[in-house]
Each structure stands twice: as structure tokens, then as C-alpha cells.
Amino acid sequence: MKILVPVKRVVDFNVKVRVKADQTGVELANVKMSMNPFCEIAVEEALKQKEAGKAAEVIAVSCGPTACQETLRTALAMGADRAILVESDVELQPLAVAKLLKAVVDKEQPGLVILGKQAIDDDANQVGQMLAALLDWPQAVFASKVELSEGSAKVTREIDGGLETLEVKTPAIITTDLRLNTPRYATLPNIMKAKKKPLETLKPADLGVDVAPRLKTLKVAEPGKRKAGVMVKDVGELVDKLKNEAKVI
């Protein structure tokens, strides 16, 4: 069985983004870019399943500009076997990405697709569920534990009240939550080896997918600023402020 792992190139999670002065978006020039953290967890999970003998091949795929090759090389350095870049300079919104991935799934016929539950740039949390819908596959999203069997998967999910365990028929879509695993670091020898692994490039047109954006961003603004707070010297002063100034207790 093949496992397909879509990965996204995003602004690194340690960077505090700044909104552009003309309010058209956030400043991306000279900003450190990395693989989305939830996608790293997805790659790690696919590799673990392969190492446990549950999968024969791990294929990383990314949709976006040429620079996404770097993200794919990271996945290859972690241990993915090969990579596919669906190259597009158009802004790709979640529905377009899901359609591109469906076309890749139709071509590659994986038994499982593991994705990050959310990208930390647009915070949309959509692609996995949309891909499941387009394929008419079952889904188990926000996974914190995955056990694969023949024809099904048992997935523990993080939900608002605690945890839930689902059994889904495979092929299926799984999206990863934070506590599923701790992604490995790519070692230098593996980074070198990754440069020789196959990386295929496709265009949306090759896959017959219309990727035109559906949502128009009218503006991007800074969040409201909180007014500066005060430091209190002791618990007595804190209680006094909460009672008499903020009036919240």
C-alpha cells in the first residue's frame, strides 16, 4: 500500500508575521519558510507506518510555487520515497488544493492519505475533509493515535470534550493533531540522499483542474491592540485591582 502525504510550505511557526502597510496581505519577503508543523507530523506518521510494515511507499506531494520543492526535499530527507510538486503561481485555496490532490490520488491510488489538520498560515482546516468528500472516502480528522489493519483503521481523535476512537474503512483520509507523534529531524546524510530521490513536477492543467480562487481577500488588517497593562507588586494589590478597578470578581 502507498501512503500519500500532502505537505504545505508556510511561514515558519516562530516568525511573528507583520501585516503589509497597504493591507493586501502579510509581509512574506525575506521571511523564513518551513514545512507546516502539522504536515511534519503527517510525514512522520506515514514513515512510522511504513517502518511497521503497513505501507510499501510514502509519497509526499505539495501544491504551490517552485519553492515548494524545498518542502518536498525536507519530506524526502525525513524518509519519504518520492515527491510530486503540483506547480502553480496562482493563489491556491483549499478547494483547489483538494481537487489537485484528488487528481493525484486518482493517478497514484494510495490506500491512505495522511495530512496535517490545519496550516498555520490561513488556519483554514479544510483540505483533508474536502479531499475525503471529493473521493467519497471516510475521514478521521484530528488524530492522536492511528492503528492500521487490513481494510480499516482505528483512529483516536481529539475532540472538544476529550477523545473519541473511530473505525474507518480504508482507503481513508486521516488528518493529524499535535500529539500524534514527534517528527524526526532530517540528518545530514539523509538530506544529501534526498537530493537524489525522484521529484516529479506537474501543472494543474496536466491534472485537468481549475484552480481559480473562489474567495476574494478584500483586505488584511492588524488585530486590535490591547492597552498596556500594569505590574502589581503583590497578591493583595492584584485582588484589589480585580475587585475595584476591573470589577471582575
Binding site: 482546516n125 475533509q129 481529539e158 481577500t217
Partner: protein, 308 residues
């Protein structure tokens, strides 16, 4: 045309920000209908009919919706979505699960986690962990929208809509719920609590969270946590406040031993009053706190509990 809100409920009552989603939907369309699906959930359907702005509740009485399975909910919603201008749900774990599936089958975009409604087709939503807010316009014939509860007051129970039965959709049988492990607590639900006491890595153990529980119980507060505290196993996952955990905006948020990573701030910085207690005067949490107290939380928390 009306907006359709998909209710999250526990059969007896509405849950997970459904009443807030109704408020948001009322700003998008002139009329709001609510879908309540599940077995024996008439009480929840009646509660939905009482929400201001709701003219009709569609009540599907069938056990195939009891687990909140995305495949079955999607099939049901897609079957009736064409009658509506908007399909709306709370951006809770329930809503996030099936709503993008609905959008994809309708071949429309989803607008996730909105914090504001500008007009019937234009919405405001946080991006980059709330470090920016995007105003987005949808040209799709049906708007599929999930709602951040803290952006909208819950609709009050002052209405008198009707409840009408609706037939179940197909049972997809692609997945099933094997078990649920839900955290049981007498404290308020974290997502909607008026006061929240949250702990971080500074607590150093799960045992030490008991100290926060005493404080929370005295304040009638819910308990939250940073990702670090959850990852360290001090508390269960559903305590996590942050970009990818729960988004809260209580009247009072007390952050204890939390340094304040941007991912945590994303989940709580809309709180009305923020108190930070931390031994490190340089901790970023102090930049968003209304009241900061530098010191040893193991002395401060018991003293605070005693004095309030």
C-alpha cells in the same frame, strides 16, 4: 433565502457555540433555520426553536447522527443545502469535522472560523494565529461558513420558531464510533466559561494542577492549559487553549506559569481582563496582560485563592 445552522447538541440542550452561530447567521440572512439531527433529541430541537431569529427547526430523529460522523452529516446537509443561501455551524471540533466536506460536495469554498459578518457575502476571519484579520468575499451561490463563538453573543431564548420533522439522509456506513473518553467535570465548559484559570509548564506536574482547581472552584471558573502542559501530560488534550485548541474570551483569564507563545495568545487574547502570574518578568504573556504579577506561583496561587 434563509441561512441553515447545523446544531451541535447533547440531545437535551444545544452545545458548542450553536447559539452563537445562530447570531452570526442572523447577520447573514433574514431568516434562520436550524437542523437538529440525532435520536431522542426533541428537547434540543425545542431549545433551538426558542432562539431569537430562528423561524424553523428541522428535526431528524435518527441514531445514525448520534456519533456526529462527518460522512452521514454531510450527506444529510448536502441534500437540503440548495434551499439555503448560507450553511453555518460553529467552528468547534463538531463543525470543523463535516463542514468542509459539505462545501466540497457543493463545489463552493468554505469560510472558516469567522469572527465578524460584514454583509451577506463578506466575512472577517483571523489568519496566522490571529496576528492578522482577513476580510474575504465569497462569490459562491451558497456560503458555507464556520463561526468562532467568541466573535458573537449567543442568541437569547426569546423566540418561538416551529419544529418540523425531516427524513434522515443516507447512512453511509463508512465509519463508526468505537468509544469516547470524555473529561467529566462539574466546572463550566471551557469554550463558554465567564472565567478561566489556565496553567502552563510552570506548574511542573499534573499533581500541581490541583492548586489551580481550588482557585477555579472558588471563582466558578473553567480550567485551561497551554500546549506545553498538555504535551507534558499534566492535563487532558481538551484543556488546551490556543491557535489549534480552544479559543476562549472570558471576562477573566488567569494565566499561571504560562510563558505566552503566540500560539497560546491566539486562543485567549480577546479575553476582557487578563492576569498573568509568572516567575520570568520577560515572559511574553505580560505583554497582553492587564495585570501582571512576577513571582513564585506556588506561593502566589494559594495566597490568591485565600484572598478572593
Amino acid at each position: 433565502m434563509a441561512a441553515l445552522v447545523i446544531a451541535e447538541h447533547d440531545k437535551q440542550s444545544l452545545r458548542g457555540g450553536t447559539a452563537n452561530a445562530v447570531s452570526a447567521a442572523a447577520k447573514m440572512a433574514g431568516d434562520v433555520h436550524v437542523l437538529v439531527a440525532g435520536s431522542g433529541a426533541r428537547a434540543a430541537a425545542d431549545a433551538a426553536a426558542k432562539l431569537a431569529g430562528v423561524s424553523k427547526v428541522l428535526h431528524v430523529d435518527s441514531p445514525q447522527y448520534d456519533g456526529g460522523l462527518a460522512e452521514n452529516y454531510t450527506a444529510l446537509v448536502v441534500g437540503i443545502a440548495k434551499n439555503y443561501s448560507h450553511v453555518v455551524a460553529s467552528a468547534s471540533a463538531f463543525g470543523k469535522n463535516f463542514m468542509p466536506r459539505v462545501a466540497a460536495l457543493l463545489d463552493v469554498a468554505q469560510v472558516s472560523d469567522i469572527s465578524g459578518v460584514e454583509s451577506a457575502d463578506t466575512f472577517v476571519r483571523p489568519i496566522y494565529a490571529g496576528n492578522a484579520f482577513a476580510t474575504v468575499q465569497s462569490a459562491d451561490p451558497i456560503k458555507v461558513v464556520t463561526v468562532r463563538s467568541t466573535g458573537f453573543d449567543p442568541a437569547p431564548a426569546t423566540g418561538s420558531g416551529s419544529v418540523e420533522p425531516l427524513a434522515a439522509g443516507p447512512d453511509k456506513q463508512q465509519s463508526k464510533v468505537l468509544s469516547q473518553e470524555l473529561t467529566r467535570s462539574a466546572r463550566p465548559e471551557l469554550g463558554g466559561a465567564r472565567r478561566v484559570v489556565s496553567g502552563g509548564r510552570g506548574l511542573a506536574s499534573g499533581e500541581n494542577f490541583k492548586m489551580l482547581e481550588t482557585l477555579a472552584d472558588k471563582l466558578g471558573a473553567a480550567i485551561g492549559a497551554s500546549r506545553a502542559a498538555v504535551d507534558s501530560g499534566y492535563v487532558p488534550n481538551d484543556y488546551q487553549v490556543g491557535q489549534t485548541g480552544k479559543i476562549v474570551a472570558p471576562e477573566l483569564y488567569i494565566a499561571v506559569g504560562i510563558s505566552g507563545a503566540i500560539q497560546h495568545l491566539a486562543g485567549m487574547k480577546d479575553s476582557k481582563v487578563i492576569v498573568a502570574i509568572n516567575k520570568d518578568p520577560e515572559a511574553p504573556i505580560f505583554q497582553v496582560a492587564d495585570y501582571g504579577l512576577v513571582g513564585d506561583l506556588f506561593q502566589i496561587v494559594p495566597e490568591l485563592t485565600q484572598k478572593i
